[in-house]
Symmetry: C2
Subunit: 202 residues, 2 copies
């Protein structure tokens, strides 16, 4: 051992995520980061490697914080409630996002992943996990009767994933509550076990 670090790696990552998240990869310079974090560029290169590796670590950190616990938190709820709570949280998060940072994973999916195989894999993998979470919810709901059985669980999981991504894109330019809450109503109706015509008849 020798001279110890003067900073906490977790705090640094938190600040780095903040900047990469808000401005993206290209529009964030190492000097921006260094100043925002309160480190020298040398320390950044020493600790995290080059910019590419630094962004990767920031994204991993973000994913861990944002998806890691959330999936677990909802998985214990009854399936239909889990899906509903998930989307409500996303909408609230989007509406209170005054800086319009959106979702860092979605941002990475569009800015970095298409030109970088490593990020392509990372992003795809997280999306697969979210899709799997939805599928488990739908399957459980279809078993216990709380979710409509007319659609294949895998199809519905894809629909939910697509809707999630759509909300995150839409909210970034049109963060309107009516719009976001309106667009998930038909989706929720799709999940309801009693059919739509029943409601018309009754």
């Amino acid at each position: 051992m020798a001279r110890p670090r003067e900073f906490d790696e977790e705090n640094v990552l938190l600040l780095a995520v903040e900047r990469f998240w808000e401005h993206g990869y290209e529009a964030t310079s190492i000097r921006d980061l260094a100043q925002a974090i309160g480190l020298t560029t040398a320390s950044i290169y020493n600790t995290f490697g080059d910019k590419h590796a630094f962004y990767r670590k920031a994204l991993d950190f973000y994913v861990e914080r944002s998806f890691g616990d959330r999936v677990g938190r909802f998985e214990t709820k009854p399936p239909r409630e889990a899906i509903g709570a998930f989307f409500n949280e996303i909408i609230e998060r989007s509406l209170s996002d005054t800086k319009r940072k959106g979702c860092m994973l979605v941002n990475s999916a569009l800015e970095v992943a298409p030109h970088d195989d490593e990020f392509q894999r990372v992003v795809a993998q997280v999306l697969v996990q979210v899709e799997a979470f939805f599928r488990r919810c739908v399957e459980r709901g279809q078993e216990d009767g709380s979710i409509n059985r007319c659609q294949k669980a895998s199809d519905m999981a894809g629909t939910l994933l697509g809707t999630l991504l759509g909300i995150r894109v839409l909210a970034r330019t049109r963060p309107e509550r009516d719009l976001l809450e309106g667009l998930i109503r038909p989706i929720f109706a799709l999940l309801e076990p009693q059919s739509q015509s029943d409601k018309l008849i009754s």
Copy 2:
């Protein structure tokens, strides 16, 4: 008048769109553009103004080409077919997009619009138009009985817009036919006039 231009503005915009579309705003330099187009930077600044204005013109050109005629082309069809054809075309376009450029409007919505009021307005306006197209389709379909009346047309229009954006994001990292075609099946089912339980009963 004096010395005439040696290039065709439309061809130049076409090439500029190509590069901005593929690499985004930040990752495309004026020199990149000049080389790709076959112009000098002076000519670019002369003709289009600065980089910001050039991107704006490229985006306008893209929107005009991509949305202008498409909406009109589908508007004449029966409403449910119009929506179906629209999504099928988007999926085919996404699957054949070997360069993974996605949709330039969606890319702009995430990279440029959040930090730039001008682009914020431009992107939002196009999204409003697409939403309005979907709403007109749904309203017409609900009138002629080809589309389910259980959901408000405005809600359904939002759902369709969200799904569209979701597909364009998802396809950029996971361009899998099964996934994309699967996720719109429940959406189409939502539009069907005969309810899901009818199908179960019959």
